[in-house]
């Protein structure tokens, strides 16, 4: 988007005219929703469906008459899986486009790249992705599951199901994997088990032969794998190719977030235990309706995944707060969100936790089955207890950091 002199003059003239005549000029003006997502590049498997979900949510709201009687206009930028573009586009969204809210960011690095820009400019920010927890900032609202919400549910389930006492952890070697591995160790201990080894892998490691042999030499009862990205997907292939699936059960905190279970064959994926807020196989009226709408908009519903649904629920939450506040002004919207506003999304009820600006949400225990995620059990209303342990925005509204949570 660019502004040339003619547009600028025209716009100024219109504004002046409106001001002079005293028209309710804002009535028909669109509300601007800013979005920054990696819709291309190596993270597009995450970003594209998130973008689709955001647009679907906006279309829903507009079809129902918009917000405060005004339509929503999407101002979206594709950050191309390039972290440098995030700060550039965030500046653009706040300065030039002057959007009313920003939804977006996928990797934690991208979130941290734009969080301060949006905070300084007073632009409300929604980060709608599963992440490692600990961000404490009054300007941001986060509705993805955090390790405590997910791992606290997954570890006892997986350990009880297979009667495991010893657990081997394979994690991605960056903040998400490191922090999640700590939480897994904690809950393995709390459930009377023992972590026999923790191995970390940079994101480009794709050869797990020696690891698979090592795992066998320690013979754990269960392997939990918070591995991330396309290269790490090879682990699940090689595990199956070595015939290990029948011997040692697997659980993961990440497999399926970007629909990876649809890339693996049924044989490779079957039986892997996971826990998320959303599954396409979730049998609820809300999900059926959501999938129907998605299919109507995009042809088929196969692209839907965990963080696309988070993004959808994030937009719904923001819209509910704007309605409640009756205003787009940041502080009144934040105040409305802090009343503990709830929305019904495809993944269940999502409630804002006023103290941390994270979400209280349902976590579903699932098993991968024939390239789908079959829901075994639903744990309703899980609190983000990891972030709650360090962050209290009611007591310290000026807090502005990401805590590393001591476990």
């Amino acid at each position: 988007m660019s502004i040339n002199r003619r547009h600028f003059l025209g716009g100024s003239a219109a504004l002046t005219g409106a001001a002079v005549l005293g028209y309710p000029a804002a009535a028909a003006d669109a509300i601007k929703l800013g979005s920054v997502l990696d819709s291309s590049g190596i993270f597009d498997a995450y970003g594209k469906p998130m973008d689709m979900a955001m647009r679907l949510a906006v279309a829903d709201i507009n079809n129902a008459g918009g917000l405060l009687g005004r339509p929503i206009e999407v101002v979206a930028y594709d950050t191309q899986s390039d972290m440098a573009l995030y700060s550039q586009y965030a500046q653009q969204l706040t300065r030039e486009d002057q959007v009313d809210v920003v939804h977006g960011g996928i990797l934690s690095a991208s979130r941290e790249a734009i969080r301060q820009i949006l905070r300084k400019s007073g632009t409300l920010y929604f980060y709608n992705v599963l992440y490692e927890g600990g961000v404490c900032d009054r300007n941001i609202f986060i509705n993805g599951v955090t390790p405590a919400q997910q791992v606290e549910a997954l570890v006892p389930y997986a350990m009880n199901k297979v009667g495991a006492r010893t657990v081997y952890i394979l994690a991605a070697d960056y903040n998400y994997g490191q922090i999640t591995a700590k939480w897994i160790q904690k809950y393995v201990g709390d459930n009377g088990g023992e972590t026999v080894s923790v191995d970390f892998f940079p994101l480009d490691v794709s050869d797990f032969g020696s690891t698979i042999a090592k795992i066998q030499s320690t013979a754990p009862d269960l392997v939990i794998a918070p591995l991330v990205g396309g290269a790490h997907l090879s682990f699940f292939r090689q595990w199956a190719a070595a015939g290990m699936k029948a011997r040692i059960p697997l659980a993961s905190t990440t497999l399926g977030v970007g629909n990876e279970h649809k890339v693996l064959t049924a044989d490779e994926g079957n039986g892997i235990m996971v826990a998320y807020n959303y599954s396409q196989e979730l049998d609820t009226p809300k999900n059926a309706e959501f999938k129907r709408k998605w299919a109507a908009a995009y042809g088929d519903d196969t692209a839907i995944h965990e963080i696309a649904v988070s993004n959808y629920q994030g937009v719904l939450t923001w819209a509910a707060a704007v309605r409640e506040a009756g205003s787009l002004e940041r502080d009144s919207v934040v105040a409305a969100l802090e009343t503990g506003i709830s929305v019904q999304g495809p993944g269940g009820t999502v409630t804002v936790d006023p103290r941390t600006h994270h979400a209280v949400l349902d976590v579903h225990l699932m098993e991968i089955e024939n390239q789908g995620m079959t829901v075994i059990d639903t744990l309703p209303r899980r609190q983000p207890i990891d972030t709650q342990a360090v962050c209290d925005l009611e007591a310290n509204p000026d807090d502005n950091q990401q805590y590393e949570i001591e476990i």
Binding site: G41, F201, Q216, S234, G243, V263
Partner: protein
């Protein structure tokens, strides 16, 4: 005891994988002195050719061992005609041109196949080695690598075309004066090298997922292996792959796969300090 056997299998596999990764480059860079920075992308294309063929219902072994090398070989032929043949003897220019090619291939594949990880399952089941389960596909890779080395040796040493190719690479003018057309021989050799790269990408595809940028993971290892191998094509390839594969796996088992990769690179630096012109500059001097 079983664990030692498993380590032996993994070491053989690592060596085999290095041989495969580097074979195409050994021909194109080792023999022809063309710095092919698009080597990784040739491999990636071999992988995509295999996956596409398998999705269309072609037998996976046929796709890997015949189709993918053929597709990438033809592509190499086209690339040689359009780009490389104008640049023989101009090292820096070929680097730039092939780097551009690699970007082009990544872009095209991204447009056609998208930027998400794809892959196929390994076609060979795992089997038990004592108390351990081993990936049966590892043996396949070792077999293919061994067969490849043997085949390259046989072609270069015992066939007339091998002799002509070697002669042309050493003295193109001399070969020309004997009535051979160096232009044609360069073209065919480049195509053969490309086909080998395609084969490597195809055979490794079921083990690791594939994205358009997968090639980048191989390029450094391939160059290191070929350069450390030195002047003898096959003995160099086998010996440097042997050294690096062994070191990589020992450290992978002892510490972690990451340290294994680091150890490989450290070994390469040390080796090139001690033998700046490669292993076969000192050892196995008379071999091919």
């Amino acid at each position: 005891m079983d664990f030692i056997l498993v380590i032996v299998v993994e070491v053989l596999y690592a060596i085999g994988a290095l041989v495969l990764i580097s074979a195409g480059l050994a021909v194109i860079f080792g023999m022809m002195r063309v710095i092919n920075l698009a080597h990784g992308e040739f491999m990636m294309l071999g992988g995509y050719a295999t996956i596409t063929a398998v999705d269309l219902g072609v037998n996976v072994f046929l796709a890997m061992l015949v189709l993918a090398p053929a597709v990438v070989g033809v592509l190499g032929l086209v690339v040689e005609r359009l780009v490389i043949r104008h640049l023989y003897g101009r090292l820096i220019d070929t680097m730039l041109a092939t780097w551009g090619l690699s970007l082009l291939f990544v872009g095209i594949v991204t447009m056609v196949f998208g930027n998400t990880t794809t892959g196929i399952s390994t076609p060979i089941p795992g089997f038990a080695l004592g108390d351990y389960q081993v990936n049966g596909y590892n043996f396949f890779i070792v077999l293919v690598a061994a067969a490849l080395l043997f085949l390259m040796l046989a072609v270069l040493r015992s066939t007339r075309s091998g002799l002509i190719a070697r002669g042309t690479m050493q003295h193109a003018d001399m070969a020309a004066s004997l009535g051979y057309n160096p232009d044609r021989i360069y073209m065919l050799t480049f195509a053969c090298g490309s086909a080998l790269s395609g084969l490597a990408g195809a055979v490794l595809a079921p083990l690791v997922g594939l994205v358009p940028t997968s090639g980048g993971a191989y390029i450094a290892k391939a160059f290191i292996t070929v350069i450390a191998g030195g002047p003898a094509l096959i003995a160099g390839l086998a010996s440097s792959a042997g050294v690096f594969g062994l070191i990589n796996q020992i450290f992978s088992f002892a510490v972690s796969p990451v340290v294994g990769e680091v150890a490989l690179l450290v070994a390469a630096v040390v080796l090139l300090r001690l033998l700046p012109r490669g292993i076969t500059d000192r050892l196995f001097r008379e071999s091919l």
